[in-house]
Amino acid sequence: MRLDHCYSMTAHVIFSSELQKFTGVREATVQAEDYRSLVIEITDRYEGLSAADIEDMSVAINGEIIVEPMLEKIDHGSEVHFLYRIEGG
């Protein structure tokens, strides 16, 4: 059960070019229960990447752009994209 539990939290994260200067990679696999823990995980993993840098970006989880994702659950195989900020007119 414990292995299943961990397995179910693996997300595929795709960084924008703006964040790639911190991460050095375009994509990464991250284990996290929810978006909040995902942010903690990647800011711990990549030196210089701060939560403030991420807050400037829009976020899409499994294709859906979510304005306030903090409490979003991360399912196994979820795709998390960091996008340039989208503002309408």
Partner: protein, 738 residues
């Protein structure tokens, strides 16, 4: 929802609740409020596009007996607040019209005269007026502390290039290696204004006891409160912002210009203060939309399969870094196409123009213009119908976008097929006429919305929403409440709540309001239904589960008995107090809207004058709540895009002064300039919205640029690339070619 539903009220063309007030002049806009003891504020603006401020002497203005208060940048309490240097310049002016000082006087004329008493000593600097100049080696640098963000290596010197963006998918080099036909071209678009009819205005009253008030024209009164409270170092609870009726915004009324200045003047004078920009000020100091220089290259096989798409986009930000919509521009440029290999590189550049503001689908019209023009040229080169070429490469459900997510169900195929089958597309053109077709994509967003539905004693309901009604949202909210409560639309009225009587709502923008605030209405209405059932149950001494709500009435399923909303609400005091439903949400599930437009344009070869002879706008609405408003949005977006394509541009002198700050010289299309714009509403429901709604306000401005640009090019047989394609430019192109 995932499939079409049967609706009782949604989809009807009900009478506009704001129509009578607007056509009779009774609607209260920002400039319509006057208060006892009120004085007038005016702003002194820079005559220079780029200059150092050495000294500001306000002593003569302060001595004027008609003047109650004078202020400069130094009088703003919070000197570190975001955006403060656009409100009033600090030590440097960055554009012609930059605010430098302000006065409040007994009358508007007295305030205007007092501005002439303020002495400002400038050291004039060379202005930087376009992307080419800003990026040349010998260009003056606007900001000594601006180092380009997003570069592969940290820059060592300051630059006028504020940031670099990059997006890619697939292998762009391999994609072009596969191509049998390659088209590449550079395009330019001018600085444009949103062109709202109502100028920025506000009336404010500073209150020492913590009841300060702002009445203003805005797309987001909660944002006005946050910005102003921050600049004045006051708590948000001590400031109430009331959104007046709004006479257009299109993104240009998301920003804050006058309100903090007016409130400081009110505080200093002890009087209510009214401020209103004149039309010159609106053009000089608010908006505009970014000018751009964009290059696009597309490769395809001879059967029309596109193998690679590449773009380099340069967007002006105005003077303030971070103010351009470069990110969305990069993300939208190729989204209508399901092509494996795509690459885009974007640059934001600062120039000595007003800080750029959002303008309807910010960033997308310019970048998609470049792409769509090349697509049309590619179709010609391949000998293919431009709609067939688009259908062969069309984005659809499952398409991997370059910016990340895969598309859900979208309606671009349906829009293209509707365009192909339209009466206009089947009509032959006459001499000197050309036709253009173009697609458009915009994301749409959700966000925070707050709604309360207060049920009245007679069973009617008042919907209080936090989203200023800029495009007919009050009617849509009434209809969605009626649908959920199964009561007539006329049983509801809708108003915009003040910041002190509703929780926070995001501004009206991003095509979010009918979608997101509509979801909040549905939630609030469901809350009302739940309470109505509880009260009926209490009346009948049964459980709420034994009550059915149907056709706007409560039915006792355990016996005989029917109660109307009026009966339940009329006796609500006896069953627990009056009934009010709430919907405070952070909406998810916004889904994109695609559009396809057709333009037929006739060009007079002797004068270069263009006449739009026929125009059709086709767009996916998901579900049109009120079809007339949806059609109005399609037509409004088309009209603005046509103006952008054919006439509109800021014209600057060599020293950076704006030379056409008025509607006589900045020529937006009038009703008499345009044919009746035909519309087709495509409905591919958004499965994330209870009624299938997609935002529709913004996409409509995207396709006209390339539809018109291609139509003009085809009419004269010359590839045009620079917007606007105004008569002098067309005539010159014709003369150069001959």
């Amino acid at each position: 929802m995932s499939e079409a539903q049967d609706f009782k009220y949604i989809g009807q063309r009900t009478i506009r609740p704001d129509g009578h007030d607007k056509v009779t002049g009774r609607a209260n806009y920002a400039a319509d409020l006057s208060l006892p003891g009120m004085i007038w504020g005016k702003i002194l603006r820079s005559p220079h596009a780029h200059a150092l401020i050495n000294r500001i002497d306000t002593s003569k203005a302060e001595a004027d007996p008609n003047v109650f208060a004078v202020m400069t940048h130094a009088d703003i309490p919070n000197q570190t607040a975001s955006g403060i240097r656009n409100i009033l310049a600090r030590d440097k002016v960055f554009y012609h019209g930059h605010a430098v000082a302000a006065v409040a006087a007994v009358s508007e004329a007295a305030a205007e005269r007092a501005l002439g008493l303020i002495e400002v000593d400038y050291s004039i600097l060379k202005p930087v007026m376009n992307i080419d100049d800003a990026t040349s080696n010998d260009s003056p640098i606007l900001h000594d502390d601006l180092f380009t963000k997003g570069m592969p290596e940290e820059p060592k010197a300051p630059s006028n290039v504020a940031s670099r963006n990059e997006l890619s998918k697939g292998d762009i080099e391999a994609g072009f290696a596969e191509a049998e036909v390659v088209i590449e071209r550079e395009f330019r678009t001018a600085t444009v204004h949103q062109g709202y009819i109502e100028p920025h205005a506000c009336t404010v009253r500073y209150d020492e006891d913590g009841h300060s008030m702002i009445w203003c024209s805005t797309q987001g009164h909660f944002a006005v409160r946050a910005t102003t409270a921050s600049m004045l170092n006051i708590e948000q609870t001590k400031l109430n912002v009331i959104a007046s009726e709004i006479g257009g915004g299109f993104g240009g009324k998301l920003g804050v210009y006058l309100e903090p200045v007016a409130l400081v003047l009110s505080k200093k004078s002890g009087r209510p203060v009214k401020m209103q920009m004149d039309r010159n000020e609106v053009f000089m100091a608010s908006g505009p939309g970014s000018a751009t220089r964009n290059w696009v290259k597309i490769g395809a096989k001879k059967d029309g399969t596109i193998t690679a798409m590449e773009a380099k986009l340069c967007y002006e930000a105005g003077w303030a870094p971070g103010s351009s919509p470069l990110g969305p521009a990069c993300m939208t440029v190729f989204t209508p196409y399901d092509v494996d290999n795509q690459y885009v590189e974007g640059y934001e550049v600062v120039v000595n123009k007003a800080r750029c503001a959002a303008y309807r689908a910010p960033g997308a019209p310019q970048s998609e213009y470049a792409c769509e023009m090349v697509i049309n040229e590619l179709a010609d080169e391949l000998g293919m119908d431009p709609i067939d070429l688009r259908l062969k490469n069309v984005a659809k459900e499952g398409t991997q976008t370059m910016y990340g997510p895969k598309l859900k169900a979208v309606g671009l195929v349906e829009c293209l097929e509707a365009a192909r089958d339209s009466a206009q597309y089947k009509t032959a053109l006459k001499e000197n006429q050309g036709r253009g077709v173009a697609s458009g994509f915009w994301f749409n967003v959700g966000g925070e919305s707050s709604v309360v539905i207060n049920m009245n004693e007679d069973g009617t309901g008042t919907i209080v929403e936090g989203s200023p009604d800029i495009g007919g949202s009050r009617a849509s909210m009434q209809m969605m409440a009626a649908e959920e409560l199964q009561m007539p639309v006329e049983a509801f009225s809708a108003i915009i709540g003040d910041t002190q009587n509703l929780p926070y709502s995001n501004p009206t923008g991003g095509s979010r309001t009918t979608f997101a605030t509509g979801m909040a209405v549905v939630e609030a209405a469901a809350d009302v239904v739940s309470q109505l059932k509880e009260r009926a149950a209490a009346t009948w001494n049964i459980t709420p589960e034994q009550v059915e709500w149907k056709d706007g009435k409560a039915f006792n399923t355990k016996g005989e008995g029917v109660l109307t909303a009026a009966e339940i609400c009329g006796s609500a005091a006896k069953t627990g107090g009056h009934i009010s439903g709430r919907g405070n949400i952070s909406a998810r599930g916004a889904s994109p809207s695609f559009a396809v437009h057709l333009a037929d344009i006739e060009v007079d070869p002797d004068t270069g004058k263009t006449t739009v002879v026929r125009y059709t706008a086709i767009q996916d609405a998901g579900k049109a709540i009120h079809p007339s408003y949806v059609e109005g949005q399609y037509q409004g977006g088309s009209a603005q895009g046509i103006g952008w394509a054919l006439n509109e541009e800021y014209v600057y002198s060599s020293d950076g002064r704006l030379e056409n700050p008025g509607f006589l010289d900045y020529r937006i299309p009038l009703a008499s300039d345009l044919p009746m714009i035909e519309t087709v509403i495509v409905e591919v429901p958004n499965s994330f919205h209870p009624f299938g709604v997609r935002g529709i306000g913004e996409t409509g401005i995207i396709p006209p640029l390339a539809a018109c640009g291609t139509a003009v090019s085809n009419a004269i047989g010359i590839r045009m690339s620079e917007l606007p394609m105004s008569p002098p430019k067309i005539l010159k192109a014709i003369q150069d070619a001959s």
